[in-house]
């Protein structure tokens, strides 16, 4: 879907300082070589299968299906991957690519800590140095993940600028990359940033939809009627959608974090409330004020707490191929508890946004229809925060 200039319709591009241009050009050339290199693909597949635990399961959620009384529900279990989320797919791909390029150091941004932990994991495995930038606010909210990253050998740099959350961590990682390029690869965690990142990250995450297609074909002999995933930057969603984009009968539904509601200022629903802009290397939709200042955003989910969305999602929205729906904190927390009780699966609060929308959609569909929900990560990291949300005095 990417055109030669890294555009998805009007979205995408390379809006970065001149200092980084040769770095992204070098990255694009290396990626274009290695993506077709049999040895690279063999090594990556081995890492996916033997290390990360792929293919992840496609699980028929019989109790959830019965309780909702409509479409059949399948769960794509990215939560079962090593490190507990889909993030490892992208990180193994990028870390291996960086290593092939002769880089010895990985830097990354992280919000909730999932991408930081995944990057620290890959760095440990491949013998690379690792520095993770994390908003100071998030280092407090996710102290356990900070410890995990350090345990894995990474340095964690708390970011105190701006709102001290995910967008500021991205800005600081970009600044760091500008100052040290020769030995350093910026392992971006989502389908965002300057070209070629949205394409590279999508390709490494596309394993999700490739597996869904094959697994559902085996179980049901057909394609799903809808695929539902949560969207922050949008990497698990684009990974879940990608191999279905050419199948117009499959509805693709991205669930954005509405926070306290799209009519409040405390929201992170970019497609519902943002407008076209240029930030973090890309043209896409961003939450911003009338003068283009990037808005502080809010969601209960640190992983969806980002004021932009990946350029390919912006494009899929423009052409009407995918739908994007807002899901509030309340709805996500209800879904977090619902899936735990109904199926014995505690989803990440991010993924619970997708579960919440599926709970609304499934009862409107007949029993011969099929919905696949991507459970992008596991919810252990969120238990304390959700307990507090429900008024319990629980701290990690």
């Amino acid at each position: 879907m990417t055109n030669p200039n890294g555009r998805f319709g009007v979205h995408g591009g390379q809006y970065i300082p001149e200092t980084l241009m040769n770095a992204v050009i070098e990255l694009e050339q290396a990626y274009n070589f290695y993506k077709n290199d049999p040895d690279f693909n063999r090594e990556l597949t081995a890492l996916f299968n033997d290390y990360a635990g792929r293919p992840s399961r496609l699980y028929y959620a019989a109790k959830m299906t019965a309780s909702l009384g409509g479409a059949k529900i399948y769960l794509k279990r990215e939560d079962l991957n090593h490190t507990g989320a889909h993030k490892i797919n992208n990180v193994l791909g990028q870390a291996l690519l960086a290593k092939k390029m002769g880089k010895t150091r990985l830097i990354a941004e992280t919000g909730a800590g999932q991408h930081g932990v995944a990057t620290a994991t890959a760095a440990a495995l491949l013998g690379m140095e690792c520095v993770v930038f994390m908003g100071e606010e998030d280092t407090r909210r996710q102290a356990l993940n900070v410890y995990k990253m350090r345990l894995l050998g990474a340095a964690v740099v708390p970011v105190t600028t701006g709102t001290a959350t995910l967008k500021d961590a991205v800005s600081e990682a970009m600044r760091e990359w500008t100052s040290r390029i020769a030995d350093t690869h910026y392992c971006l965690g989502s389908v965002m940033g300057p070209h070629p990142f949205p394409t590279i990250v999508r390709d490494f995450q596309a394993v999700i939809s490739r597996e869904i297609k094959a697994q559902l074909m085996e179980k049901e002999g057909r394609l799903p009627d809808a695929v539902i995933a949560c969207v922050g930057g949008g990497s698990n969603a684009i990974g879940s959608f990608y191999h279905f984009i050419g199948n117009p009968g499959v509805r693709l539904i991205g669930c954005e974090a509405a926070g306290r509601g799209v009519n409040t200022r405390e929201t992170a629903a970019t497609i519902a409330t943002g407008k076209l802009g240029i930030f973090h290397g890309m043209k896409s939709y961003f939450c911003q004020d009338e003068y283009g200042q990037i808005a502080p955003v809010y969601s209960i989910s640190a992983g969806l707490d980002y004021p932009g969305v990946g350029p390919e999602h912006a494009y899929l929205h423009d052409i009407g191929r995918a739908e994007y729906v807002p899901v509030t904190d309340d709805e996500a927390v209800d879904a977090f508890e619902y899936l735990s009780r109904t199926e014995g699966i505690i989803p990440a609060i991010e993924s619970a946004h997708a579960v919440a929308y599926a709970c609304k959609l499934a009862p409107t569909m007949t029993k011969d229809r099929i919905i696949v929900i991507t459970i992008s990560g596991r919810g252990d990291k969120d238990c304390a925060a959700i307990a507090r949300y429900r008024g319990e005095d629980l701290h990690e």
């Binding site: 809006y15 970065i16 200042q293």
Partner: protein
Amino acid sequence: MSKIASAFQNGKAFIPFLTCGDPDLATTAAAVRAAAAAGADLIELGIPFSDPTAEGPVIQAASLRALQGGVTTDKIFALVRDLRRDVTVPLVFMTYANVVFSYGTERFVKNCRDVGIDGLILPDVPYEEKEDFLPACRAYGVDLISLIAPTSENRIAMIAREAEGFLYLVSSLGVTGVRSEITTDLGAIVEVVRQNTNIPCAIGFGISTPEQAREMGALADGVIVGSAIVRLVEQYGQAAPPHVGDYVRRMKAALGELPVNPQ
């Protein structure tokens, strides 16, 4: 010759940067007038952006102070309109792509022309993306300034050949901010620039002392100083303008000791 090129006719050019609205617009106006009176050849006016990814801590903090003080793009246009009653040195805006794009690029650049802005520096718009902004800049006679970095290498000639106004040569890797030492082989970069364009070339990022200004000025046609001046504003607040004037005078005097290259 564009008005910007004329800034390089008075020996080596000294180009100070100020963040508009830090700590308030009246102080910015007084600091611009002080800098112009002290011999600044061209002045960069920063329109603050919430997330300035090319800036170091000093200008990040100034941007935040200015935004918290309520400055907006429209208020900055009004500031420039007021300055143009008596300030004649070339003025350029330095800001980020989204500030211009969200305002409406054509409307923004037309306003630049109407209030008397001569050029536009967008550090997050490289050569490959300039088509978003160049047509409007051409239409309204506002120079879109190109940047060259220590990592530009094979890109220098391509950028220099299409450059307008002046070329902004980034001295070092990383973001804006004071540096004790600049280690890039800038002489070699300037040589490639000279082979490809006649427009002047100014070096910025990391320069703060008269010694550095002399050293960098010997290599190019001018020097740009941002963080060191913004730090004066941070230190002295509303009392900063005379300190900015003194600083500009010292830096311009240091450059005045250098022989002028034949253009």
